[in-house]
């Protein structure tokens, strides 16, 4: 896939993810019913995992597009993206458990783990061989960073 197309796809991913984040922004309710508060919290976290899923898919497309032109970059960030996707899946599993009655709150720790893992790397800061690669990286990871920022601000686990 050429880099121009990748950039366009990345921008589309950014728009979709930002729209998803805007739509899911942590819902506020005027209820003291713990069941309502729990359902709203879990629903908001679910939307955050979905927004991050969009962003991760966009980041993956970008990484694959520079696999041959920026091989060192690919080698460095491919395992990291995979790790975050797995942590997102772990959060999804914990949220599913919470939906069916798990009251341990393990989903909160799972959300924090995503932000903690994300904080280990800075994917837009790199000695790119091709300047356009950095432009693509900034576009590709914008949605990703927005999603992680939302997760970190609501659940901690500073990114």
């Amino acid at each position: 896939m050429n880099q121009k197309l990748t950039l366009v796809l990345s921008i589309v991913a950014v728009i979709l993810s930002v729209a998803a984040l805007a739509g899911c922004a942590y819902k506020k309710v005027n209820s003291n019913n713990p069941a309502v508060v729990a359902a709203v919290s879990i629903n908001s976290a679910a939307h955050m995992t979905d927004a991050l899923g969009n962003a991760l898919a966009g980041a993956r497309q970008y990484l694959e597009s520079v696999k041959t032109t920026e091989p060192d970059y690919y080698s460095k960030f491919d395992p990291w993206i995979t790790s975050i996707a797995k942590k997102n899946d772990a959060a999804i599993a914990a949220l599913r458990a919470a939906e069916v009655g798990d009251t341990s709150g393990s989903w909160i720790a799972a959300m924090q783990a995503i932000a903690a893992e994300a904080g280990k790397e800075s994917p837009t800061v790199w000695g790119f061989k091709n300047p356009s690669s950095q432009t693509g990286a900034i576009a590709a990871f914008a949605a990703f960073e927005a999603a992680l920022s939302t997760i970190a601000s609501h659940f901690g686990g500073k990114q």
Binding site: S31, N43, A46, L56, D78, I81, K86, D89, I92
Partner: protein
């Protein structure tokens, strides 16, 4: 409730039917969604959305894992 506002709501109710008055009162109380339906119905709707959202998110993670 402000009497003038109440009068307006009653007039609206007469003109358009009672449901619009109920919705307006619910909106004034804040969180119209929740006021307009029971907690149980609201939770059920949230849970349905959560289930489909998580399924969607999981599929995207599989793509991201490459």
């Amino acid at each position: 409730m402000n009497p003038a506002l109440l009068a307006q709501l009653i007039q609206l109710g007469t003109q358009y039917g009672i449901p619009i008055v109920e919705q307006a009162i619910a909106a004034m109380k804040g969180n119209p969604q929740q006021q307009a339906e029971t907690d149980d119905a609201y939770i059920a709707r949230l849970n349905a959305d959560t289930t489909s959202t998580l399924a969607d998110a999981s599929g995207k993670d599989q793509q991201a894992e490459g």
